[in-house]
């Protein structure tokens, strides 16, 4: 721990002491969740400051019906399904893309939507479907790639649209009101695109502080300190403690691209149901690149596993250790829920960094909670 971080920790303890009551804040982003575990920040926090993880892991919130559609498409003869590697092991109703690939299906792992487009160019006889997952950080890449496909007439390319928006999910959590939250630590790199001011509606409607922070220990501590300071002073504002990277207005080129290629639509989130105006669909002029339309496929319904409590985990209602399957029936090698699949999922982070070793030992030491 650097001197600067130690000083921030001291300040945080002082502020939390002044507030006295329990303070609960949500780190929305999966990358924050992992960084908080990895760096041991949780163990440095005052006893009355509780961090809960939010629905900010795109792998975890991709609806099962979208995975099922990906499996259905990848199983069709001749189809190449291109996906970010994170999605390979997410369970659908009938297995995962990884299992399907083992049976001979053409499932290709790509690092970029553009690589999927290159696959389509290289295989003009094969329909190439790109699994478009991710929040606003990732969606502009898909938008730019669709424009490129349109410009170059790559008609065997299509996208299974699963992109989601962060702010509507945060609002939905507050609207539901069943988890007491004093504020949000907002995702750094989503904010690079949408800009810090995008969180203003949350502040305006719900009067909760939102602080945009980076992913290094000092940046996270600065973010927590800014949040607790607002709580202590009874304020609620958007604050950006990642100013070297995040601006108030975001990346205007990327935002314009999103507006041009996509329309905002209601979207299903895994375990959370349909959240109004929380996802992206292709705009009418680019709809021919929509995989569901091209293959005349309708989305089904999600069917949760009876043991899995991922839905409660990603809304801050339960900690992974409270799930009966955690580290018993469900572990990273045999995941039941998506939060255990993604290395940025809350359950996977708990499993890796915060699990008491030994059979049946799932509870986390009191000092770390």
């Amino acid at each position: 721990m650097t001197d600067r971080v130690a000083q921030l920790v001291d300040e945080l303890h002082g502020l939390c002491r002044d507030v006295g009551r329990r303070i609960q804040v949500m780190e929305v982003c999966g990358t924050h969740t992992v960084a908080i575990f990895r760096t041991g920040i949780r163990s440095l926090l005052p006893a009355n400051l509780r961090l809960v993880s939010g629905p900010g892991c795109p792998v975890c919130v991709t609806a099962q019906r979208h995975i099922d559609a990906a499996l259905e498409l990848a199983g069709r003869p001749g189809v190449i399904l291109a996906t970010y590697g994170d999605m390979l092991r997410v369970p659908g109703r009938s297995g995962s893309l990884e299992r399907l690939r083992a049976t001979g299906a053409q499932v290709q792992v790509v690092n970029s939507a553009r690589t999927a487009l290159d696959l389509a160019r290289a295989n003009p006889q094969s329909p190439v479907v790109f699994l478009g997952v991710g929040f606003e950080t990732t969606a502009p890449a898909t938008a730019a790639t669709v424009l490129e496909a349109d410009r170059d007439g790559v008609e065997n390319f299509s996208v299974l649209m699963c992109h989601k928006l962060v702010v509507p999910a945060m609002q939905a959590l507050l609207d539901a009101g069943d988890v007491p939250l004093d504020g949000f630590l907002a995702p750094g790199h989503v904010s690079v695109i949408i800009g810090a001011q995008a969180y203003q509606p949350i502040v305006a409607k719900h009067r909760r502080p939102v602080v945009v922070a980076g992913f290094e220990p000092e940046q996270i501590m600065r973010g927590l300190l800014a949040l607790v300071r607002q709580v202590a002073e009874g304020r609620a504002a958007v604050e950006n403690v990642y100013p070297g990277v995040v601006t108030a207005d975001g990346n205007r080129v990327a935002l314009e691209l999103l507006r041009r290629v996509f329309v905002v639509a209601d979207a299903p989130w895994r375990e959370l149901g349909v959240i109004p105006q929380s996802g992206l669909e292709l705009a009418a002029v680019y709809r021919r690149f929509d995989a569901l339309q091209r293959f005349e496929l309708a989305l089904g319904e999600d069917e949760g596993h009876p043991l899995c409590r991922c839905g409660e985990v990603i809304t801050g209602k339960a900690e992974p250790s409270e799930c009966p399957a955690f580290a018993t029936a469900c572990d990273p090698l045999n995941p039941i829920g998506p939060c255990m699949v993604s290395s940025e999922g809350t359950c996977a982070a708990w499993y890796k960094y915060n699990r008491v070793q030994g059979p049946g030992a799932q509870r986390v030491p009191e000092g770390q909670r």
């Binding site: 990358t31 990895r38 970010y84 590697g85 994170d86 991710g134 990732t138 890449a141 990273p332």
Partner: protein
């Protein structure tokens, strides 16, 4: 998955740029950061430069990423790595 890594632009050709990610190079699109030029530092995510940032911020981020790469126990699953491990991994939107 939403983590982007900083890189320095070392070559530009139209909408494409080659960025140096502290030793490894990657061809990325700069359509989202059209003003980025040779010598600029950019944040790279999913094959796209998504923002420019200053050198000090970029190098501090790399100090942190290097610490992670040095101390992180290897994941058993190769292809489920996320963006933060992208400099050494396959299949993540870096």
């Amino acid at each position: 998955m939403c983590l982007a890594v900083p890189g320095k632009v070392i070559e530009c050709r139209g909408d494409e740029a080659v960025v140096d990610l502290q030793g490894s190079t990657l061809r990325v699109s700069r359509v989202l950061t059209p003003e980025a030029d040779v010598g600029s530092w950019v944040l790279v995510h999913a094959g796209f430069a998504i923002a420019q940032l200053d050198e000090r911020e970029a190098l501090e981020t790399w100090d942190y990423l290097r610490q992670i790469l040095a101390t992180e126990p290897a994941d058993s699953e190769r292809e489920t790595q996320t963006t933060d491990q992208a400099p050494r991994g396959e299949g993540s939107p870096a």
